[in-house]
């Protein structure tokens, strides 16, 4: 029998009551008395010199409160980058200024030039059309290869070139070259990890409010991490001390990474609220989102894999160009380096792994973390090149992977990280079982009878989650700690509010976190509520990204609950006239070990707040504890994925017939929510593999600027639920956090893109198209058809 409560149970998501009945409170639902509205005038050219901005006519238009330009932000800080990467020569990365509103130049389509604050949004838009702009268009730098050529147009005139950093990591060149020199076989693959737009269902929104009476500010914003925004915006941009700045991220309709970052619009609304002495609201349109939300991925890579005569992996070497866009977004610099290079060993005991990354400025929207962030890029390269090697060597791709698995833990990779635990053989075997690999030949024959090609793709993945040990990331250039925090506030009658630093924007924390506390205390989950998303209510936490909420913030919550239990036992010991070391807590009852003397949870909590019979000389009244938790290591979820595709050779259209994931997430608190996370992650991975393509033309115009051209995955792009199998029964608990959990938020998006592409290549080869060794994502029908006919 599955559990019906506590850890391991799957209660329905309690937050869904408000989300599904329209009772959610999103940022756009927040309206502050007297608020004005801002419309941003954005650049329609990718690169240009601002010769003149004349706002005089616009300022006289109806409803206009004030018009701001870059000049209003002189002396105000720019948007900071939160991670300083040091390159292979010991030089720190180039860090160009990122003004809130463009100063002197515009550098991408969508770069904000002016902001019109007016009584209504329509009046703001109309006035913006009356702003006279003289922008001298300059040649745009779009292609990364061209951006790095000598004499290329510079995105930032004050930098020497468009190279942000040239980073090298892992095994030294001499050792790596030696491994390649003795290889019996080398497989080389050049590939693109396509640029994506996250497209959370809720576009970004910001409402800035300022009170003259207290000289304090409130920013309501669509954020995954309100404390990070308070720190970055308060300390680095606007110079507002933290006690005068409250940041609230209420219900947030999906983030996927793109709502981690501190954006210009947030700083603007906060700044303008004081300047105008009125609350100022901005709501992104979907069109604005395409050109102002940070994009994801956009790597171009050459990867080489060296094998010995027995097909053992000897070395991996990569050479990647990573697009930064026009400015450094908050965590942009860390994605192609520390979130990518450290995963290039994958699940394999390859002795030499060297990663080279050049980060490049271009006249495009800034690129930053998107679900998986760096790890999907690493997984895609490695699992594609292994598949190509298997094909070149004529060996079974599953056997080749198996042969090279890491089997001893802990395992220190050549790329700095130490995997604490795992069992890659177990997930591979589970995947094979669920996919019915032996039955594939018959299914392929059935497809061929219908004029279709059928392909099977398999791959493994590993990710580093639960970011991260603060002292380690500090050495690597992070400008923040990456602990998290929780306060457990027990009320007099025993109900509990848990204030957490993690933020829930779809993850289901309000359901899952109480399951943990309820399990520890032996009380009903309905007695526990989670509070999150408001810096005035919660302890200083770093928020939600990198599959860290349960592994890091959940650990803080466990530590705080342990403190509660320790204190409650002291109170119970007093009430029961026993030593607290003899007190046991079970099912909400404190019992003196070996006796039938007990006192209930509620009696103890009441005593804490009504301390008439209470050891006041030993302990304070009240029952509230806070813990900060800084993890000792990352966590390392891993798994094996497989899919079967059917390919229509007449049109090139690929359909996913079946997808199987066998994940190892360590212990699982709520299986239903884990499965939902993986379903969603795989949907986004399939989206990247088959559909999504953020494309610019050579002038830096965004071609995929709306849903008319940017293809999001829809239900009918995915397999039927019966053939969309997500399994997490293989569990090697994390060794260093109290719950033994690893995180599940990103796995699906990390593991699935190579699965799909491997399956497509397999299908093409089965149809005799053996000259096709790779197709770049998205694998659209037109690209498949072009590849089939490329001979």
């Amino acid at each position: 029998m599955p559990k019906d409560h506590g850890i391991g149970a799957s209660p329905k998501r309690r937050e869904d009551v408000r989300f599904l009945t329209g009772a959610g409170n999103y940022t756009d639902d927040i309206n502050v008395h007297g608020q004005a509205y801002v419309h941003f005038l954005r650049s329609d050219v990718a690169h240009g010199k601002i010769n003149k901005i004349d706002t005089s006519t616009a300022e006289g238009m109806p409803g206009v409160v004030r018009i701001f330009t870059g000049a209003d932000f002189e002396g105000v800080g720019g948007l900071p980058c939160g991670w300083q990467v040091t390159d292979k020569n010991g030089e720190v990365m180039k860090e160009p200024a990122h003004p809130v509103l463009a100063q002197g130049k515009v550098r991408h389509v969508g770069d904000p030039i002016a902001a019109v604050v007016a009584d209504s949004l329509e009046e703001a838009r109309t006035a913006a059309e009356a702003i006279e702009l003289d922008i001298e268009e300059l040649p745009a730098v779009v292609d990364m290869g061209k951006a790095l050529e000598a004499g290329a147009t510079k995105v930032h005139d004050d930098l020497s070139d468009n190279l942000c950093y040239d980073w090298q990591f892992g095994t030294d060149t001499e050792t790596t070259d030696a491994a390649f020199a003795k290889a019996a076989h080398v497989t080389t693959l050049e590939l693109v990890n396509n640029r994506l737009v996250a497209n959370p269902m809720e576009p970004r929104v910001a409402v800035g409010d300022y009170s003259r009476a207290g000289d304090d500010y409130t920013l309501y914003t669509t954020s995954q991490n309100p404390h990070v925004i308070r720190l970055l915006m308060g300390a680095f941009v606007l110079g507002i001390p933290e006690h005068k700045l409250r940041v609230v991220a209420p219900d947030v309709g999906g983030g996927f990474g793109t709502k981690i970052f501190h954006y210009a619009e947030e700083a603007f609304c906060t700044f303008a609220a004081k300047a105008c002495n009125r609350p100022v609201k901005w709501t992104s349109t979907r069109s604005e989102a395409f050109m102002s939300d940070a994009h994801g991925r956009d790597h171009v890579t050459k990867i080489e894999l060296a094998l010995d005569k027995d097909n053992n992996f000897l070395a991996v070497r990569t050479d990647t160009k990573a697009n930064m866009g026009a400015y450094l977004s908050t965590f942009s610099s860390s994605v192609p380096t520390w979130l990518h290079g450290t995963l290039m060993a994958g699940n394999y005991k390859t002795p030499a792994v060297q990663v080279n990354v050049k980060a490049v400025f271009t006249n495009t929207v800034p690129v930053d973390a998107y679900r998986g962030a760096g790890r999907p890029e690493a997984t895609f390269q490695l699992e594609r090149v292994i598949d190509k090697a298997a094909r070149e060597l004529g060996v079974d791709p599953i056997a080749l992977r198996r042969q090279n698995f890491i089997t001893q833990f802990p395992y220190a990779t050549p790329v700095a990280v130490e995997y604490d635990t795992g069992d890659y053989e177990a997930t591979m075997a589970k995947m094979e079982e669920l996919m019915d690999i032996p039955g594939f030949a018959a299914r392929r024959a059935e497809s061929e009878k219908n004029g279709k090609l059928r392909g099977l793709g398999v791959n493994c993945f590993i990710e580093a989650c639960g970011i991260a040990p603060s002292n380690l990331v500090g050495q690597l250039g992070a400008r923040a700690g990456l602990y998290d925090a929780a306060t457990v506030r027990v009320n007099a009658t025993g109900s509990i509010s848990v204030m957490v630093g993690a933020h829930s924007h779809g993850q289901g924390h309000e359901t899952v976190f109480p399951q943990v506390v309820a399990e520890m205390l032996g009380i009903d989950e309905s007695m526990i509520d989670i509070v999150h998303g408001d810096t005035s209510k919660i302890p200083f936490g770093m928020g939600t990204y990198g599959s860290r909420s349960l592994a890091v913030c959940g650990s803080a919550m466990v530590r705080a609950t342990e403190k509660i239990i320790n204190k409650a036992k002291k109170i119970a010991g007093h009430l029961l006239e026993a030593s607290d070391s003899d007190i046991e807590l079970k099912d909400g009852q404190f019992t003196v070990a070996g006796t039938d003397k007990s006192v209930a949870w509620g009696d103890v909590t009441l005593a804490a707040y009504v301390p008439h019979n209470y050891p006041l000389e030993d302990i304070e009244p009240g029952l509230e504890e806070t813990a900060f938790y800084d993890p000792a290591n990352f966590t390392y979820p891993a798994g094996a994925y497989a899919c079967e595709v059917e390919l229509d050779p007449e049109t090139g259209k690929v359909t996913i017939e079946k997808f199987v994931s066998a994940d190892d997430f360590g212990n699982v608190v709520n299986p239903m929510i884990v499965e939902g996370q993986v379903h969603g992650g795989i949907a986004q991975g399939i989206g990247q593999a088959l559909l999504e393509n953020c494309a610019y033309d050579e002038n830096g115009q965004l071609l995929s600027a709306s849903y008319m051209d940017y293809a999001m995955p829809r239900a009918d792009d995915l397999p039927h639920m019966a053939n969309y199998v997500v399994d997490h029964s293989c569990q090697t608990p994390c060794t260093h956090n109290p719950l033994g959990v690893k995180g599940c938020g990103e796995a699906g998006a990390i593991g699935s893109p190579p699965t799909v592409v491997n399956a497509v290549i397999d299908a093409l080869h089965s149809g005799g198209h053996t000259h096709v060794s790779h197709i770049d994502m998205p694998v659209t029908p037109s690209r498949v058809w072009a590849a089939m006919n490329s001979q």
Partner: protein
């Protein structure tokens, strides 16, 4: 959206009168025009809504057996009621999504003549007659290039008359993002010959593939199209497919439409 006045006439005559003013635009189901207004890409001073005009709504059979559809009839109504012309009903049932189908109208679609819309292929392949408040226009004369038609300013499509073929089918290969036709082919077999109309592919908008019509008129079978091809020159080439790919799909979709014709 800029400010505008809206008029809701209940007769074609009143609508025509209302459209006589400067900068007035007719509003059908609004599935193209409303997004355009929201983007501030159009600034009419008056919108004349046609959705209150009962006389241009509905599906019926004419004396000559043709299926007659009022210009203001929604796609959902056609999908439900054009049972006399199953291929056309199926086409209507696969336009956009339910929200689009419950607002968008056949008259609006044909007046807009989006090069990737479905209805133009049906009208051209069926040799339909586009009836307006002033005249009747043969489909062969009506479509005049991307977003271009024979309509005059202020002219309203009141009805579209579709001769019902012995057999017909529409095959759409969807553009993955918009799910408009990347290539759509409508094949209609009449006693006096076969008509094949292609949407989504050409820079000139919907067109007849006369070579295939000839071959299919003598042998209405998929293999009759073998060896025939349209040129990739003049085909739309974009993010979603080259002109050569679209030209290839014209052949594939034509064969599939023939195979599916019923």
């Amino acid at each position: 959206m800029y400010s505008f006045d809206i008029q809701r006439p209940t007769s074609v005559a009143d609508a025509v009168a209302a459209l006589g003013t400067d900068e007035a635009l007719p509003l059908g189901g609004g599935q193209t025009l409303i997004p355009t207004l929201k983007q501030r890409l159009s600034a009419p001073s008056v919108l004349v809504s046609l959705s209150g005009i009962a006389e241009i709504k509905g599906v019926c059979t004419g004396d000559d057996g043709a299926l007659c559809i009022g210009g203001g009839t929604t796609h959902a109504t056609v999908a439900r009621e054009a049972t006399g012309y199953p291929a056309l009903a199926e086409l209507a049932g696969n336009i956009g999504d339910p929200a689009v189908r419950n607002r968008g109208t056949i008259g609006g679609s044909l007046a807009n003549n989006d090069p990737s819309a479905c209805y133009p292929a049906a009208a051209l392949a069926s040799g339909a007659t586009i009836v307006t408040n002033t005249r009747e226009i043969a489909a062969d004369d009506y479509f005049q290039g991307m977003f271009e038609t024979a309509l005059n300013e202020g002219e309203i499509i009141t009805e579209v008359r579709f001769p019902v073929p012995e057999k017909g089918a529409y095959m759409k290969f969807e553009q993955p993002a918009s799910r408009f036709a990347l290539v759509g082919v409508f094949v209609a077999k009449y006693a006096d010959g076969v008509r094949v109309a292609v949407t989504g592919a050409s820079e000139e908008g919907v067109f007849r593939w006369t070579e295939a019509e000839k071959a299919l008129s003598s042998n209405f079978a998929p293999e009759a199209v073998d060896g025939l091809s349209v040129s990739g020159d003049g085909m739309i080439s974009d993010l979603h497919g080259s002109g050569a790919y679209r030209a290839h799909l014209v052949g594939v979709m034509t064969k599939r439409a023939v195979a599916a014709a019923h």
